[in-house]
Symmetry: C2
Subunit: 154 residues, 2 copies
DNA sequence: AGAGTTGGTTTTGTTTTGCAACTCGTCTAT
DNA sequence: ATAGACGAGTTGCAAAACAAAACCAACTCT
């Protein structure tokens, strides 16, 4: 039995980064969350080259983040919609937006403001401890080795 | 006075994406959060080419996310540490990790497990409504146009 | 004196992007 | 019926980003 200091090659962060960790893909996702669904609209709003956009959309579909569905035949047309897996990226996108608004663009950069449908409160969701519900930041949490930190037999 | 549907060119998400939204930078940040500080260690753990790593470290320092400080002279040596601005990226990195663990790598990919120092609860922080404290997801929130959605006079 | 460590920079290819032009099937106006 | 126009891409080429390896500098250790 061998213990490796860290199993970085199978890191979940790296896995995610290799799927959505490039500027172009993030722009596409931003549009998706803003309910954009059509190729042309994606292209106009992101300003990406059409081939790159086509490539990214296909990759996102391949990864199960977007779903390509026909919304009319006759002129056959498709739209791209977030799947549940895609919707689960929300906290990440939100985080990026928040951080950018805080440090880079200021309030002027907040494209959308969020309101909680249930209680009506306006503002961005915060990270909270799953146990006690208190708001937390990086320094409030302690990192323990996770399961990926242990290597199987050599 | 002209209203533009969306002021995407000054989007805070895009700003953030252009700073940390590439695979290499994310890998560097992962290491930073794992308390890695030296060039060589970054290089070994991320597997990045040395020139690229040097470039990214410089960029992160330039953006105020990392701080380059001398930790010894005689052989003059520097280390790279997260600033407060860098620490504030925590929710994003956490989000990436979570999502990857859920959809890509499974539990095997969780390099670290987190424990709340204050209450001892183990698990990942959740997004909660700033008003009522209830856990929220994308569909619980409603998007209203933010300040960036308004264009100045044409 | 020679080998090894740390922290880079330079050089040289390879891969990825971006841009523009082009295709293809269909619709629309004349 | 005929000439655009549109949506959704594909193709070809130049420019930029990336990776690999060599090189350099300042020390330390033996």
């Amino acid at each position: 039995m061998v213990w490796k200091t860290f199993g970085r090659e199978n890191c979940s962060l790296e896995a995610t980064a290799s799927i959505i960790g490039d500027r172009q893909t993030l722009l596409v996702l931003r549009e998706s969350f803003l309910r954009v669904r059509r190729f042309g609209e994606f292209q106009r709003n992101t300003g990406l080259a059409r081939n790159i956009l086509a490539d990214r959309l296909q990759a996102l579909v391949g990864n199960g983040i977007l779903e390509r569905r026909e919304y009319q035949d006759r002129p056959q047309r498709f739209e791209y919609r977030l799947t549940q897996k895609g919707l689960d990226l929300y906290p990440i996108l939100l985080g990026l937006m928040e951080w950018g608004a805080k440090y880079e663009t200021g309030k002027e950069g907040t494209l959308v403001t969020l309101r909680h449908k249930a209680c009506g409160a306006v503002g961005s969701p915060q990270l909270a401890c799953p146990g006690c519900g208190e708001p937390v930041t990086a320094s409030d949490m302690e990192a323990l080795p996770g399961r990926g930190a242990v290597l199987k037999t050599a």
